[in-house]
């Protein structure tokens, strides 16, 4: 029985890695563990909610450096740090760079499970948001050129008459295009349309 979530673990200590693997599997996560950051980068990633449990002290590259490296590569995954000798500046640096939690070994099981849970929640939210955005973008792409022009004018707050004058078409034609835009974008009201335009980052006049 799994919850459809994957937790990646990167720790160079075999025993620590195995114990975390065992603990997280007991609460239903699928666990993929690696002894080094390079192995994590080389492995295929599942397209489902996931989280990375990362040791701060690693050979060749510290966990904090790996965190920066991931950000540069555009890999967006919530990170839970674990460390044998955490100090305040180190944890502050990790948290500022967006870490979920900074746990000092040995940690309480619930602390790790909670942190991983929060990480997965965050990843799920991010994935959902990405999914919604992709859908809106697809809908926007299905509009004709004229419909896109009308939509841009509508969300910028122009009246039908003004749009007609701007685009040099009749007001009736504007109304027809406008109805098409609302239908294709899957919205019923003007505020909804404006919000979608915002998400797409359409240029405002």
């Amino acid at each position: 029985m799994t919850t459809g979530t994957t937790v990646y673990v990167v720790d160079d200590d075999d025993a620590v890695r195995a114990s975390i693997d065992r603990l997280l599997r007991s609460v239903g996560h699928e666990v993929v563990a690696f002894p080094a950051p390079q192995a994590f980068l080389g492995a295929p990633r599942h397209a489902r909610p996931s989280c990375l449990v990362l040791d701060v002290r690693l050979p060749f590259m510290s966990g904090l450096e790996f965190q920066r490296d991931l950000a540069l590569r555009g890999i967006d995954i919530p990170i839970v740090f674990i460390t044998g000798h955490g100090d305040v500046p180190m944890s502050v640096a990790a948290m500022k760079a967006g870490a979920i939690e900074f746990l000092t070994k040995p940690f309480r099981d619930q602390d790790l499970i909670d942190a991983v849970h929060r990480g997965i929640q965050l990843d799920r939210q991010r994935a959902d948001a990405k999914h919604v955005l992709a859908e809106i973008a697809a809908r926007h792409a299905s509009l004709t050129t004229r419909e896109r022009e009308v939509m841009a004018a509508v969300v910028s707050g122009l009246m039908n008459k003004q749009i007609a004058a701007l685009l040099d078409i009749s007001e009736v034609t504007v109304k027809v295009h406008r109805a098409q835009v609302m239908r294709k974008m899957g919205v019923a009201t003007l505020p909804e349309l404006v919000r979608q335009a915002d998400r797409l980052g359409l240029p405002k006049p």
Partner: protein
């Protein structure tokens, strides 16, 4: 018999006890360049004296106004010399140095009434002073300083370069007041006398026949002093006092014999200048030696601190790495235990997972145990570095390293050595570290002690096949509540302590087959003792 020794020749053989003492001009032996310099200066002054002889009788009229400047210089130099000599006495008590300081102070103070009463120098003051006053003051001053110098030499001969405790401020102040009172009394009597003073002067310029006895007495005293000092000559101060005596003799030779006692002639003035040079000599030596020794002390202090910091960094790195090594298996053990509980806590307990977790816990427990064992091995590994050591020699070496700390702490270190060799098998550096650590702890414990002597006593004795060394201080001691924890790692009563010192000491001593403990019945202060098994004729033994 308790002999004291100085410099690097630290020895603890047989019945000889040892005292560490500070470096002072009064107990540091002169180096060869210093001796050469002293002889060169004496020769130069002698040449100047002889050069002045042909012109000695020429009178320099109207030179009276220069006299007050000369007298003021003389007074200041001699009083300063006395003050600096007294200052050295607060650290190291020599009766000889006390007498010398008193002599300089007396002489310096009397230079003032001598100049004031000098005929024709202060006409404006309108002092009506007996013509014999100045000469009487000069005679008392000269014979007084000569006696002090002889006293110095004699006490030097009697005491050796001995070193006692520093003298209390009160007794030094008493000495200063007594000398000042004597000088004041002599001044008052001679300045206020109308007749009744010995007739040293025929008139304001020429001496009477009676004066003959003054230089003769002084010369005899100088000769005796020089003879004794040349025979004993132990310290830098002895060397320069010898030169001073020689210069004073030259001065007197010019003043009283070449110039015939006639004042304000070239011979008389040359003699006066020699007197000033002579007075400045000890002052110069004191100031320059103090500066040199201070620089050396500052250098040593800086190096000491570096050493200590380096040692601390190594300790920190070591403990951090040990902590990390142990924390890894500990961490996986805890996580595995949690995991096992969770696998067993399920509606359908998953026994194989729990079993795996428990097996891992067992494995990690052994791994942690191995790390602990290896850490102990860091200390034990030195078994291969063991050699036969004479414990007294190890003690001496360690104490020698601490001599500056002892002086800086204002502490008297008293050592009661073994009555014979005590051969142990061990690591010289580690055992030395233990001694250093215990003595340093004692010194630090004494830091808040004021108003009484700070004393660290090291007692060495044999008991059966054991060699026992105790380090006792007369500081505040160890509180009952702390006594049981004092050997725990990371426990410290010091605000800046790591709390590793005593634990490491105990580990080292135990690795050598001995014990280290805090004496329970110490009435005042703290006493730490350790014992090590002694090898007889280099063979085993020691274990009871």
């Amino acid at each position: 018999m308790e002999l004291r020794y100085r410099d690097a020749s630290l020895r603890t053989d047989g019945v000889i006890g040892l005292e560490l003492q500070p470096f002072l001009v009064s107990n540091t032996p002169p180096t060869r360049p210093q001796a050469i310099l002293a002889v060169a200066i004496a020769a130069l002054l002698c040449t100047a004296t002889l050069a002045a002889v042909p012109f000695a009788a020429i009178r320099l009229e109207g030179t009276e106004p220069v006299l007050p400047a000369y007298a003021a210089g003389l007074a200041v130099v001699e009083i300063m010399t006395a003050v600096l000599l007294l200052a050295t006495l607060t650290l190291s008590h020599h009766r000889a140095v006390t007498v010398l300081a008193a002599g300089y102070l007396f002489s310096g103070l009397l230079a003032i009434p001598w100049a004031v009463s000098f005929p024709g120098v202060f006409p404006a003051l309108g002092l009506d002073v007996d013509v014999q006053s100045t000469a009487t003051l000069a005679a008392v001053r000269r014979v007084g300083l000569a006696l002090a110098l002889l006293g110095y030499a004699l006490l030097r001969l009697a005491d050796g370069p001995g070193f006692g405790q520093g003298q209390s401020r009160a007794s030094l102040l008493g000495c200063v007041l007594a000398v000042a009172a004597a000088a004041a009394a002599v001044s008052l009597v001679t300045l206020s006398a109308r007749g009744g003073l010995p007739s040293f002067m025929a008139n304001a310029r020429e001496v009477a026949p009676l004066w003959r006895y003054v230089p003769a007495t002084a010369m005899t005293l100088y000769a005796l002093t020089a003879a004794i000092l040349l025979a004993t000559r132990r310290s830098v101060l002895d060397l320069w006092v010898t030169v001073v005596v020689a210069t004073l003799a030259m001065e007197l030779f010019l003043l009283s014999y070449v110039a015939g006692g006639t004042r304000l002639t070239i011979g008389w003035w040359t003699g006066r200048v020699l007197g000033l040079v002579s007075a400045s000599m000890v002052l110069t030596v004191l100031v320059s030696q103090t500066a040199i020794l201070y620089a050396r002390l500052a250098d040593t202090t800086a190096r000491d601190r570096q050493d200590r910091e380096a040692r601390l960094t190594v300790m920190e790195a070591l403990s951090a790495s040990i902590a990390h090594e142990i924390n890894q298996p500990l961490s996986s053990m805890v996580t595995n235990a949690y995991a096992a509980l969770r696998w067993l806590d399920k509606p359908q307990p998953h026994v194989p997972e729990a079993t795996d977790a428990l097996q891992d816990i067992v494995r990690d427990g052994h791994r942690a145990g191995r790390i602990v064992e290896e850490t102990r091995g860091i200390f034990r590994k030195t078994g291969s570095d063991r050699e036969l050591l004479d414990l007294p020699a190890v003690l001496d070496e360690a104490l020698d390293r601490l001599r500056f700390d002892v002086v800086r702490g204002g502490v008297r270190l008293h050592v009661e050595p073994f009555d014979g060799p005590a051969i142990v098998a061990g690591n010289r550096i580690q055992l030395g570290q233990v001694v250093c650590n215990l003595v340093t702890n004692a010194l630090e414990a004494l830091r808040p002690t004021v108003g009484r002597e700070r004393l660290v006593t090291i007692r060495c004795r044999r008991e059966g096949n054991w060699a026992i060394v105790s380090v006792a201080d007369n500081g505040p001691g160890v509180a009952q509540t702390q006594a049981s924890r004092i050997f725990d790692p990371f426990f410290s009563t010091k605000t800046d302590g790591m709390g590793m010192g005593l634990m490491v000491c105990r580990t080292v001593i135990e690795a050598h087959g001995g014990q280290l403990w805090l004496e329970p019945d110490a009435s005042a202060g703290a006493t730490f003792s350790f014992r090590l098994p002694v090898l007889e004729n280099g063979r085993g033994g020691g274990r009871e």
